[in-house]
């Protein structure tokens, strides 16, 4: 019996108040360890789809299975626990907390997971080393460049050893050099077995992914 897909969605729909349909029935699956890119024009429903996949939003129709488990019947606390343990987020605007140092930002998801202070700081340091920022752990986000902030963001996403990494235009605010470094990091993580789903406008990143899911007007093209 083969392992269940990391993500399975069937006829996924999301209609907002006022009747706007961001997703109109999307069906696809992403295998464990796959690197998939979601592409499409602005307003086509990419971010809505990513939010549902990250359990930050609930679909108004269809089903979503994460690692084979149906998410529809789960309560807020269960969804939070699932998100904390299985999913890592990387954002276009980095979304680091400005008053915390890079080290504290990386350690924050582990704090929410209930890890003790010493082990989580140790792991946070290791993750910063991993993304090449071992010496900048005490710097606040304002003291880091855009590329460095995004690397801190990736380290933070990896804090709780997620099986699934979701990234929303992770290179959208970066120059080409930094974008290349971030892409290389994603590939490295994928090679280690992490499932990656990222939303992008960048054809170069799309070309690097194993599969591209094109969304248009709330449907897969």
């Amino acid at each position: 019996m083969s392992a269940p897909a990391a993500i399975t969605v069937e006829n996924l729909a999301r209609t907002y108040q006022g009747g706007y349909q961001a997703l109109k029935g999307v069906t696809f699956s992403v295998a464990a360890g796959e690197f998939a890119a979601i592409m499409g024009p602005s307003g086509c429903g990419k971010s809505t789809l990513l939010n549902i996949l990250g359990l930050l939003d609930r679909p108004t129709g269809g089903t979503y299975r994460l690692e084979g488990a149906l998410t529809a019947g789960l309560g807020d606390a269960e969804l939070t626990a699932l998100r904390r343990a299985r999913i890592g987020f990387v954002f276009q605007a980095f979304n680091l907390l400005p008053r915390l140092s890079a080290l504290e930002n990386v350690a924050l998801p582990m704090a929410y997971a209930g890890a003790a202070v010493a082990p989580r700081l140790e792991r946070a340091r290791a993750l910063l080393d991993r993304v090449g920022l071992g010496r900048k752990g005490e710097h606040t986000p304002l003291q880091l460049s855009g590329g460095e902030r995004q690397r801190v963001g990736i380290a933070r996403a990896l804090a709780n050893k997620p099986a699934l990494l979701l990234a929303d235009e992770p290179t959208g605010n970066l120059d080409s050099t930094s974008s290349a470094e971030i892409l290389a990091l994603f590939k490295e993580l994928n090679a280690e077995g992490t499932t990656i789903v990222l939303v992008t406008h960048d054809p170069a990143i799309g070309a690097s992914a194993q599969r591209v899911l094109r969304v248009k007007d709330g449907l897969l093209a």
Binding site: D76, T80, R83, F89, L108, P109, Y112
Partner: protein, 394 residues
């Protein structure tokens, strides 16, 4: 998230918005300080009531001329003779103390010259209650009273142990100032047109230790003389009946007998005043309760102000907290994405508000305790003076 981390996070947020946090804590402080001050005042008031009753005596009655009474010309008014009659009729009473005063009395002692002294005519029984003084020389006695002797006891007003800021410009009594420089004991003082011998000096306790110091008006200085001497030598010539007194203080010696003696004395005085009820007899407890009622109304009004302040600051804090939450919606979203539960988020903001509350409360406690410090000193002093009273009774 652990409590320590929530606390650290709250402190970080408070530190990041110092002005907002300080204003919030200040508004809380004001409200809580007002409440604490009110509570301490209420507690102090009840204690003072007990102490004042203990000082005054358990069965204290106060007889005074009825205010606004239009006489029919039949009654001679409240007189020293009434007091004598009460004493004669009820020898078992612990104290019958008539008193009259002459305000604006001229006095001269060496270089001291003043026209605003208060001459108080008393009998030796005066010293049986309210005794919180230190005595030098001797007190007035029955012989002084019988002979209408021209002797007097000077009252040296209490000073301050620690002068409060509001008393900085409170004038010191001229007589006290003079006698503190030169001992008047045994010397002669000119009161009105007559020379008196100073046979004693009564020193009042320090004002901070005397809960009663606000209640008596001493002009530029108080001089105690035998009541008969006041009537003969010091009362103004326009006074129709020099025998009148402004008050007769009676102590039955027992709270339970006060009501019965009140009725008996009333019957006696009505007969002596030919049916004219031109006097009133009050149980001292009623006087105190009336004063207490006024104080309570005052305290309630302060409490209402405190509640309004707390309510206003509470609404202000809610408003600020809501504004803070709305300004941090993005941060909340990030934290949720990183695995924070709703409870984590709620606790984060609650711990911040609680921390501000604690800071505000601590500030309030500090200001309220300094404000109530005087009351506390007075309360403890009151107990001390009460003990002193019974020990030093002459």
């Amino acid at each position: 998230m652990k409590i320590a981390e929530l606390g650290r996070s709250a402190l970080q947020e408070i530190g990041a918005h110092r002005t907002r946090s300080a204003m919030t804590a200040l508004s809380l402080s004001i409200g809580i300080a007002a409440m604490l001050f009110t509570f301490s005042q209420t507690a102090g008031m009840m204690k003072r009531y007990d102490d004042a009753l203990r000082l005054a005596g358990p069965g204290r009655l106060v007889i005074s001329p009825r205010r606004g009474y239009a006489g029919k010309g039949l009654s001679p008014g409240l007189t020293f003779s009434d007091a004598r009659e009460i004493r004669l009729r009820y020898p078992e009473l612990y104290m019958v103390s008539p008193r009259n005063s002459h305000y604006g009395l001229d006095g001269r002692l060496d270089s001291f010259k003043n026209g605003d002294l208060v001459g108080r005519g008393i009998t030796p029984e005066w010293a049986k209650r309210d005794w919180v003084y230190t005595m030098r020389g001797r007190m007035l006695n029955e012989r002084d009273l019988a002979e209408s002797a021209r002797v007097c006891v000077l009252v040296e007003a209490g000073s301050w142990i620690k002068k409060p800021f509001w008393a900085k410009y409170w004038p010191e009594q001229a007589l006290t100032k003079h006698i503190s420089r030169r001992d008047p004991l045994g010397r002669r003082i000119l009161l009105g047109e007559h020379l008196f011998t100073v046979v004693g000096v009564l020193k009042e306790p320090p004002k901070d230790l005397d809960p009663r110091w606000f209640r008596t008006w001493g002009g530029s200085g108080q001089v105690l003389v035998p009541l008969t001497t006041l009537q003969r030598s010091l009362m103004p010539r326009y006074q129709k009946n020099p025998d009148v007194v402004e008050e007769i203080a009676v102590d039955t010696g027992d709270a339970e007998t006060a009501a019965a003696y009140l009725r008996r004395i009333k019957v006696l005085l009505l007969a002596r005043h030919r049916g004219e009820e031109d006097f009133e007899i009050k149980d001292y407890r009623e006087i105190m309760q009336s004063a207490l009622k006024q104080m309570k109304e005052f305290v309630v009004s302060i409490m209402i102000i405190g509640l309004v302040a707390i309510l206003a600051s509470g609404i202000g804090i809610m408003n600020v907290t809501l504004a803070t939450i709305f300004s941090r919606v993005k941060e909340i979203g990030i934290r949720r994405a990183l695995g924070a539960t709703r409870a984590d988020i709620i606790w984060q903001f609650t711990s911040e508000a609680m921390m501000l509350g604690v800071l505000g409360g601590a500030g309030a406690r500090r200001s309220a305790s300094s404000a109530s410090g005087r009351s506390r000193r007075a309360r403890s002093a009151c107990s001390r003076s009460a003990r002193y009273t019974w020990a030093a009774r002459c």
